[in-house]
């Protein structure tokens, strides 16, 4: 089977964010990451599109995405001082939604930078 090639893909494993990686993939697994360094290669090759984990967990039990979203909203809404934290391994688009979430909740918003 021939592999699909993506030119100039972006690696986000470290802060260098190299944007010249050539990925060879079959939509399920990445087989080769040309130009990436050891860390980047390991990162690309370690991910697959396989369903490794359940969609969601509530109190350690498997749940559907809809249930989990409802539960998350409930917990955050109930709280007096909710905290929104992290945002390193995610996209700017998701980070923007997080800012909106903290704003709507009247909560705390913080990232890795503060550590």
């Amino acid at each position: 089977m021939s592999l699909q090639v993506i030119d100039n893909a972006t690696c986000t494993f470290c802060g260098c964010v190299c944007d010249d990686i050539q990925l060879h993939h079959d939509e399920f697994k990445i087989h080769k990451a040309k130009k990436a360094c050891v860390l980047g290669t390991a990162w690309f090759l370690n991910h697959t599109a396989e369903r490794k984990y359940p969609d969601a967990l509530i109190d350690g039990k498997e749940a559907t995405l809809d249930e989990a979203i409802e539960a998350a909203a409930e917990f955050l809404h109930e709280a007096d001082m909710p905290l929104v934290y992290g945002m390193s391994n995610t996209t700017c688009e998701a980070q923007r939604e997080c800012a909106a979430l903290a704003d709507q909740l009247g909560g705390l918003l913080d990232s890795h930078t503060s550590l």
Binding site: A49, Y53, I69, A94, L101, H112
Partner: protein, 302 residues
């Protein structure tokens, strides 16, 4: 100049792609036209790449930076003060001479500077040194950012709130105070009563009292993997990994936004999607002010 970082192992392509190896119009010989200085407390793999290696005594970075600030202005510095940093006057004077002779200096500082004794005071001192060097030549300083899109988080929060991190909205508008609103402090003091964690694993990295508090309160985790934090959380939602299966934007450490080109089709939704749906679910509930009243908008007052 790299200060308190080990790019050879933590940012492997930093040298070749951005700093010392590239040939350019004004530096046609690439590596040979540049001088690289490394300041660290021990010999790492990055030493091999450097021209000058300064082994500073652990915890003496602030003193060393302060001495350099004095030396560039020809102010007197005592021998015992220099001896305290573990370096000699000749080495430092040579460094100062080279710094002043440079056409364009760039300092990168890592966690070895910003996370050891002195913490953000060290970073502030180095930034001041870079600023003061501009009286002689062009100099800049930049932190070496770690995993993924932390830079993006700074940029995004600055854009949305005016502050880079450590923010609270509890009065309805953003306020900034690291130490009071920064996560470790909030968790160790046990201030917050729910936590929403995305793209991070504090359960594996934070001090134990902070983790204990995450266990006490309802914690919600969004992550491509079931992490340490997921195990102590009430809710975990699996999402697609950024850049591999989720599209979007990530910021490079010099604040250049880069589009992501995901290769794989993940069976999971993206972070963006899930957070947007949580937002929508919360907005269907009454607002958090008493009786669900809305905050007064500025336009209503004028």
């Amino acid at each position: 100049m790299y200060w308190g970082g080990n790019p050879a192992e933590c940012h492997p392509r930093h040298f070749t792609k951005y700093t010392i190896m590239q040939k350019s119009k004004f530096l046609p010989r690439g590596r040979k036209d540049r001088t690289m200085v490394l300041v660290d407390i021990r010999e790492t793999k990055s030493v091999k790449a450097s021209d000058i290696f300064l082994q500073v005594r652990p915890g003496k970075d602030f003193e060393l930076i302060t001495i350099l600030r004095a030396l560039i202005k020809d102010q007197p510095v005592g021998d015992d003060q220099i001896a305290e940093t573990g370096l000699t006057r000749e080495v430092l004077e040579d460094l100062v001479k080279r710094m002043k002779a440079a056409k364009f200096g760039c300092m990168f500082f890592g966690m070895g500077l910003s996370m050891t004794r002195g913490k953000h005071m060290n970073s502030a001192a180095l930034l001041t040194l870079a600023a003061e060097m501009n009286a002689y030549t062009k100099f800049v300083a930049m932190p070496m950012r770690g995993h993924g899109n932390v830079t993006g988080a700074d940029v995004m929060m600055r854009w949305q709130t005016g502050y880079p991190f450590g923010i609270t909205f509890n009065r309805g508008y953003p306020r900034y105070n690291p130490g009071e609103f920064s996560t470790v402090d909030v968790l160790v003091r046990g201030d917050c009563d729910a936590a929403f964690i995305i793209g991070a694993d504090p359960g594996g990295t934070m001090p134990q009292p902070a983790i204990d508090h995450l266990k006490r309160i309802p914690t919600i985790v969004l992550d491509p993997h079931v992490t340490h934090t997921s195990k102590l959380a009430r809710v975990h939602i699996t999402t697609a990994s950024q850049g591999i299966a989720a599209p979007g934007t990530a910021y490079r450490m010099d604040e250049i936004p880069m589009p992501l080109k995901p290769a794989l089709k993940s069976p999971y939704p993206t972070d963006e999607d899930v957070v947007r749906r949580i937002n929508a679910a919360i907005s269907r509930k009454p607002f958090w002010l008493p009786e669900g009243s809305q905050p007064q908008m500025l336009t209503a007052q004028v």
